[in-house]
């Protein structure tokens, strides 16, 4: 199977600090990778490099054989942790704007997602709660039907109802086996059942990586408990 992601010897330095050191990851297409680690471990920096928002200091990154850039963005949806949508737009305006950029945009899927997420198209984004904005971000990302989905802490800092909705929507509309996802989180308990590959990051380095079943067998405990032990 063609690799969705190939990262070799990736380093990223910010003034005075190495954010990533020697990251090597190969991920086949159609897999769900959990990128876990505490805050400040380098998860967001890694995803930013994949999107081309940050440039590597050293090392190589290939996404479906391409360097991060415009062509990669055509097949990728990115959901960052922060609020990055235009507050002055309504939900419908945001969707219409986004739809124009993706050939793969699926309007019926977006309508279904809006209904499931209890989002009214006439709502102004600036007036939505954090949880509702998180729901909208995921809906926009899923409706674009991307080959690669990058989710940066989609469950962080939101109410339990929104967290459940986001996980349910992901399970319902994400095309397992066809689409590839990198799911960054430090809240592992609710998401670990989704992963078929896990990378543990700590201080910018890979501490551990492998298939969840293999890791569970090797350590005799859940991914969440492995994480607690690794970062203790």
């Amino acid at each position: 199977m063609k690799a969705a992601l190939e990262i070799k010897g990736l380093h990223k330095r910010f003034p005075g600090v190495w954010a990533l050191r020697g990251i090597d990851i190969t991920l086949d297409a159609g897999r769900v990778m959990g990128l876990v680690g505490p805050n400040g471990s380098g998860k967001t920096t890694l995803l930013s490099i994949l999107m081309g928002h940050k440039k590597p200091t050293k090392g190589e990154v290939r996404i479906f054989g391409m360097k991060p850039g415009k062509r990669v963005r055509e097949i990728t949806s990115y959901v960052p942790e922060i609020d990055h949508l235009y507050g002055w737009m309504t939900v419908k305006e945001m969707a219409d704007f986004t739809a124009g950029f993706y050939r793969s945009w699926n309007p019926s899927k977006f309508r279904e997602l809006l209904e499931f997420m209890d989002l009214n198209p006439s709502f102004k984004i600036g007036n939505l709660s954090r949880g509702m904005r998180a729901r909208l971000k995921l809906s926009l990302a899923l409706a674009a039907d991307p080959k690669l989905l990058l989710l940066d802490e989609p469950l962080s800092g939101i109410d339990p109802l929104s967290r459940d909705k986001i996980l349910e929507a992901f399970i319902k509309w994400f095309q397992f086996g066809e689409q590839t996802v990198i799911f960054s989180t430090h809240i592992v308990r609710e998401a670990e059942k989704l992963f078929d590959y896990v990378v543990f990051l700590g201080d910018g380095e890979i501490i551990l990586q492998g298939e969840p079943d293999e890791l569970r067998n090797r350590y005799g405990r859940s991914i969440e408990d492995i994480m607690k032990e690794v970062y203790r």
């Binding site: 928002h53 940050k54 440039k55 990728t76 949806s77 990115y78 922060i82 235009y86 704007f97």
Partner: protein, 246 residues
């Protein structure tokens, strides 16, 4: 619809309040001058209105040049914008085009209202006909393209480095302020065959004890302002795509 037009549509919708506000400001100023014109020296309302609008064009250009991208950074929407499959040059060009539309509307409305005051004051002094105002408005419009694109690229360059960004930004700004007039002179000399438009009649103004520089505008300058602005905007787009980290 092409990505450029999608981005341009977004820019214009985002700026609609600004367009409305600036239009209202021009009308209010016009109304004020209309009321006061009878009490002032003949021609004062036309000239003062003209000065306020033309100076505003340049000030607004600088403010928009720094502000249009800064706003995206401050609201963190730059992450959304740069996650879309649009090139940096499309983002930069859409912002530039949106500015051209805004400042074009502002200048056109200013010119129309200025003509209203001009007609009301029956001002057609030799050497200062309305054609003079028209040409200065056109020159201000083309000049504003440079006044926008220089701070725009200075802001982008400042964002392309993790350290000393502001210092780099100011250095680029000063360097361009120094280089562009020299390039302008050189460019205009290369195209002497292009038409010049006389704005004022210097000899007639001199008889009235006035000297105004420059007394003429030229097509070569308009072409230069457009070309250099587009070049700076495209370079900004390249930097946005290849060098700037968000």
């Amino acid at each position: 619809m092409s990505r450029f037009f999608l981005l341009l549509g977004k820019e214009l919708r985002e700026e609609r309040n600004w367009i409305l506000f600036s239009s209202i400001a021009l009308f209010l100023l016009f109304a004020l001058f209309l009321l006061r014109s009878g009490k002032w020296h003949k021609g004062s309302a036309t000239v003062i209105y003209f000065l306020i609008v033309s100076v505003s064009i340049f000030i607004l250009s600088i403010v928009r040049g720094f502000g249009l991208l800064k706003k995206e950074w401050d609201s963190r929407t730059i992450i959304y914008l740069r996650s879309l499959p649009a090139g940096g040059y499309e983002v930069a060009l859409s912002k530039f085009t949106s500015f051209v539309v805004q400042i074009g509307l502002f200048a056109a409305l200013g010119l129309i209202l200025n003509y209203g005051l001009f007609s009301l004051e029956s001002l057609d002094v030799s050497g200062l006909g309305f054609r003079s105002f028209f040409l200065v408005y056109v020159s201000a419009f083309f000049g504003s393209l440079v006044f926008f694109s220089v701070p725009f690229i200075a802001y982008v360059v400042g964002k392309s480095t993790a350290r000393l960004g502001k210092l780099l930004s100011i250095s680029v700004l000063l360097a361009l302020v120094y280089i562009i007039p020299k390039l302008h002179k050189f460019f205009v000399r290369l195209l002497p065959f292009l038409p010049k438009f006389q704005i004022f009649k210097p000899e007639e103004l001199a008889q009235r004890g006035l000297t105004i520089h420059p007394s003429s505008a030229d097509l070569a300058s308009y072409i230069f302002f457009t070309v250099i602005s587009l070049a700076l905007i495209l370079l900004s787009g390249f930097l946005l795509e290849k060098k700037v980290e968000i």
